[in-house]
Amino acid sequence: MIVAKNITKKFGKLKALDDVSVTFLKGECIALLGPNGCGKTTLIKSLLGMVVPDSGSIHFNNELITNKWMYRSQIGYMPQIGRYPENMTIANVIDMMKDIRKGIEKEPDEELVKSFGLKDMLQKKMRTLSGGTTQKVSAALAFMFHPDVLILDEPTAGLDPLSSEKLKQKIIQEKEKGKLVLITSHILSELDDLITEVFYMQDGKLLFHKKLAALKEETGEVKLSKAIAKIMIAQEAGL
């Protein structure tokens, strides 16, 4: 579904992505992990065409994405920090997104709008919302248009436990429909029952890309968090 070959991106002297090649297939739920500043967000943004890689190619459904834009109608993206025009109400923002995505046959999926209780505050302006509520709006928008690919950058950061549980259920539900889900998160304990594969990056390089089961077997741990911690410690010892 998404194939990236040898992408390199430099910001000044810093190599944010260093010759990264990946293949993401349908039906997978992949965790992008790695220490802060390892290039996770840059990778996501390259897939979305928000960052233009210095070299390398990215194909989406066998089509090169350079200067293309239609392919993004099949992606639902939830940014780390979503910010919206201050004077717009939640209803305005949702309407605008519906306008932008006009042309899809299916009815917009407003399940998250309902379950997050956004229905009761549709007339609130975006600037008056708390960080968590803004995240809820971002999440609801990412799932609204039945995308084939979901890219979630720190989806549960700032959400209360109940809402983040609702979001997790939604992610599992979408995964079972055979969609590709990419998640970055530092809260590893949440990812255990979500993901099927782990994609680990460090200093802009891909360290490994393995099935979750294989990873657990290798490290001899049951929990993802322990397994990753083991690898990180081993890495540091190696340096």
């Binding site: 979305l48 025009p85 201050e86 305005n92 605008m96 306008d99 932008i100 995505r101």
Partner: protein
């Protein structure tokens, strides 16, 4: 593009700064016309205020607006939209709302007190300058990622067009005062949109006679319809040129 434009305009029109700007223009123009018993005199005072305030507010407001919308732009770029559409929607949104503010704040009083050719020219030039300086702001915001630098750059550009450019031209004039410079002066005026606007309005006001021989040359060049069309074309170039450069920059930008 239309669908996006609607939301950008709704957002800007509700902005407090734009409301204050409209109100400020309204107060200035009404008080100027009421202080002078001669509407033509009022128009002249208004001219000088408009040539300073309109570019300043437009350039600074637009620059800040673009920087403040950076996250929103990021969101839009992740949607199935062309970058070109996003950038042009922002530009059109800013232009339309600031033009609307100018028209309500200064245009309507001018129409009420002095609805002749001079008044119309003044409204046209105010609208042109609004769009030109929105375009220049897009350029300043497109050139640098840093908000402080971008705003600094747009203030500098404003300062250049309203003060420094004229000072440079004066300096040039004094240095070469032994030579006939009238035609060069006409060429120079195309290098500054504010000057183009000023000349057109002054020529409409029939006070170019006070400007001596240069005034006569200007009158001959700019006073007829060819001259008016040429200066409009000059202003349109001033709109398109910075916009295209900024669009190129935006297309290659990492968000």
């Amino acid at each position: 593009m239309k669908k996006l434009l609607k939301y950008v305009i709704v957002d800007i029109v509700q902005n407090k700064i734009v409301m204050i700007y409209t109100l400020l223009l309204l107060i200035i123009s009404l008080s100027v016309f009421n202080l002078e018993n001669n509407a033509a005199k009022g128009l002249l005072s208004l001219l000088n205020i408009i040539l300073i305030i309109v570019p300043l507010i437009c350039v600074i407001f637009s620059t800040i607006y673009i920087y403040n919308s950076s996250e929103f732009i990021e969101l839009l770029v992740s949607q199935p939209l062309k970058r070109r559409t996003i950038w042009l929607s922002l530009f059109s949104g800013l232009s339309v709302s600031l033009c609307l503010a100018f028209f309500i704040g200064a245009g309507i009083p001018i129409l009420l007190y002095n609805a002749d050719a001079t008044g119309f020219m003044m409204i046209a030039m105010g609208l042109f300058l609004t769009v030109v300086f929105v375009s220049i702001a897009m350029l300043a915001a497109g050139l640098t990622r840093d908000k402080a630098k971008g705003i600094g750059l747009s203030i500098l550009l404003w300062l250049y067009f309203s003060l420094i450019f004229d000072a440079l031209v004066l300096f040039f004039l004094f240095q070469f005062q032994d030579y006939p410079l009238e035609n060069i002066m006409i060429a120079f005026s195309f290098l500054n949109p504010i000057d183009l606007g000023r000349i057109q309005i002054l020529l409409q006001m029939d006070i170019s006679a006070l400007m001596g021989y240069t005034g006569a040359v200007f009158r001959e060049f700019f006073g007829n319809s060819t001259g008016i069309i040429l200066s409009f074309l000059g202003l349109i170039t001033w709109i398109i040129f910075p916009l295209i450069i900024s669009l190129k920059k935006f297309k290659a930008k990492d968000l």
